[in-house]
């Protein structure tokens, strides 16, 4: 797996759109370029449902090595709101890794 700690937010967002959403969810009717950073993913907007939410959760682990276990449902829901929130969640998760090299501010 790629080292996502050094990835920029823009790179994370692009990967979320391409790998996590379009490829993993087999979204045939939309391209990565058409998904805005702040487009709501569930209900209105991209129109995803709960079954797809679980696919995103598996994808976070497979693609980014980010585990969502133990995160309260409400908090997780906030992280999965749009591409921007997912990318920020990934960034903070990979930086917080015990094996990470990130500086502690």
């Amino acid at each position: 797996m790629k080292d996502w700690q050094s990835a920029s937010l823009a790179e994370l967002k692009a990967t979320v759109k391409e790998k996590l959403l379009v490829e993993r969810l087999e979204l045939e009717d939309v391209t990565a370029g058409e998904i805005g950073d702040n487009l709501p993913l569930f209900g209105e907007g991209l129109g995803l449902d709960s079954v797809e939410a679980f696919e995103i959760m598996v994808g976070l682990e497979v693609v980014f090595g980010v585990m969502v276990e133990g995160i309260p449902a409400d908090e997780l829901k906030a992280h999965l709101q749009d591409v921007e929130s997912i990318a920020r969640f990934i960034a903070s998760s990979v930086k917080a890794r015990p094996d990470g090299h990130s500086e502690t501010a």
Binding site: E26, E28, E55
Partner: protein, 774 residues
Amino acid sequence: MATSKDRARVAVTGMGILSALGDTFDEVLANMRKGRTGIGPVRRFPTARFHSEIGAELNRAIADGAYFTPEEREKYDLCAQYAIVAADQALHDSGLKGNIGDDRRIGAALGTCNGGILSLEAQWTVTALDETRTARYPFYQQGDDLAAHLGLNGPVTTIHTACAASGNAIGYAYDMIRWGHADVMLAGGSDPLSHSVYAGFNVLRALNAVPASPFASRFGLSLGEGAAFVVLEPLERALRRGATIYAEICGYGLSNDAYHETAPDPEGRGIGTAVNMALRHAGTSADRIGYVNAHGTGTQANDQAEIKGLRLAFGERLNELPLSSSKGYFGHTLGAAAAIEFTTSLYAIRHGLLPATLHFDEPRDGCEGLSIIANRMMEKRPEYILNNNSAFGGHNASIVARTHPAKASQDPNPAAPRYAPRRRIGIVGIGSVLGGGVGKGAISDRQAAAPASAKEKPGACAFSLKAFAPELYERRMNRLCQFSIGAAKTAIADAGWPEGREAGRETGFVYGTSRGSTDSIGKFLHSVFENGPEFASSIHFPHTVINSVAGKTAEKLGLGGFSSSLSSGGTEGIVAAAYACGSIRSGVHERFLIAAGDEWSGLSAGIDRAKGLKASAHHPLEGGICLALADMEAALRDGTPVKAELKGFGMAGGEFPFTARSAEALGRSIREAASQAGLRLDQIDGVLLGTAGRPGEEAAYLKAIFDQFADRNVLAVCLNEQYGYGESISSMLLLAAAAEWVEPGVMQHVLAVGVSVNGHAAAAIVGAVETTCE
């Protein structure tokens, strides 16, 4: 011969079980009395990376016991093995084992959620499949192996409505007896614990880390496994021979939520429909029910919705009605759940006890104020009980049973709707999705099955729902769903019926598919096998249950009425038609849609190889066909043109390769169809045959047909020569083609005969519409 009475009452006279709490009812009841759960650590496969590590497994000594020879263990999937053990036990218990009489027809209806999925897991691949294990996989193979092992000669069907499957199977078997298609039926369900199914529930976060506590504070289910079967026979004969009568099946109800592939309608409307239908057909009122065995899986979505649905039927009285879920004892045994819960409830009631809901602490939101039997069994002997189950794909099944033996002369439920065998049924709409086009009102156009372009293989279907009806399409919709929705929408339009939920609630729907969407199943299993079970694909998991196609069709077209989905390995069209016509004659709905579909995929090609279909004389065929059926009087009243009349059906168990038994099954199905239609064989003007077309098969069956007609030179055509062979759609094609043969009025009666890959036969007689209605 069909000797159906207006109201044949049906008794449960034998029961068999294989469960985590034991493999005899005495042992199971002893454990239930002690409040023991069968849920414990899973030993069958590693669970460390799942959210839960528990399940209700059979004792290994039972599962791997000495019941089968090594050859039989090689031949049968564990699903069929469990079913055989439980069904054989039920047959022994009934006193009919080896004692039925050669002239009696005994059939089987097996409910299963996942069929022979363990036979694919054993290979841990969907791309390099071997023939021996793959041949054990198909859903219909489970019912067929049960029938072959026990030497059954009556109708054999596998009902695959997921977690409601064995409830539907018991209902279907009850109908087979009431309608005169069988003298004895074995009905039940079987599902062994599956690694990939566990992985699927895991990724949906549906598993409970601790033993399931339905209606209580902790959400989530515990998976289980097992099988249970009942022996059903006419009450009158059961009383005459002094049989043990566990219960009388009074009636049942089926429905579809028409809501979502996995989530129940939160308002429980589909459940309410099924329960009300069961009560109406039982001729009893809600206030006579003394106990409800609920589905109660323990998930957040199910339990609340189920209570709401039960409230729609029972109103305020639900609060006082003893209610429990048996999932705390057995886990969620999926396709076996209804049968395990029904039989164990009946056995407990014989001992004056009602099953409890284990692990109950305090009621969760939406489940307050109920009379939940918590943790300890309740002493009670209710006269009437209701058994309720719901499934992925939106299917629901409810059974009403009377636990007290009654005299045959005293019908305790005189208000029950009568079966009207003379009621006439017409084909009023045809929709077909074959090759490159959509056929409305007809399928006979030879171009229909022609390839859409030179690049396509013959028999390939290029239909796109997205292009045909974009409002009904959704992301990733598998092709089988697209074919089925396209065909059903077209049949509705051809019949001139209104679309939408209001009309859909009053329309029955029976769908036949032998394999479901093998493309979706293959994608899900690939995710499990290649990525690891903890990374199973949640988006494809809902389609591993093959009623998902019927469920999606119901959802998109608002078909919330009576709903079933079944497999028979090649006779689905005729079996679905028989089920729908019998249901119309029983007063379920005046309108039914029957549909069938096949879809090609890599997994499907592997099954073809395993079943010898690569050697077929006919090219394969995929697509979907739907017929709209209506009560003739209602159709004439509404001014709906009727294309043809469905007059009679017969179904019989045979075998493959072709033997004298296969010929006998074919002959019996033909004679039974003619008898039900009130016709002699010399009144038949033509025969349409459908077979898989393996070497020698077609010639053998054609000869067997000619033998039935003695010396008369009857026109007989094998339709597969024109269209190719699609396991499920071929027999639906026969009915549609027969309707076209009789429509011009030159032929009066056409016999349609389908033979399954395992040699079971189903026959239907399609008649021209008489211009004057009696």
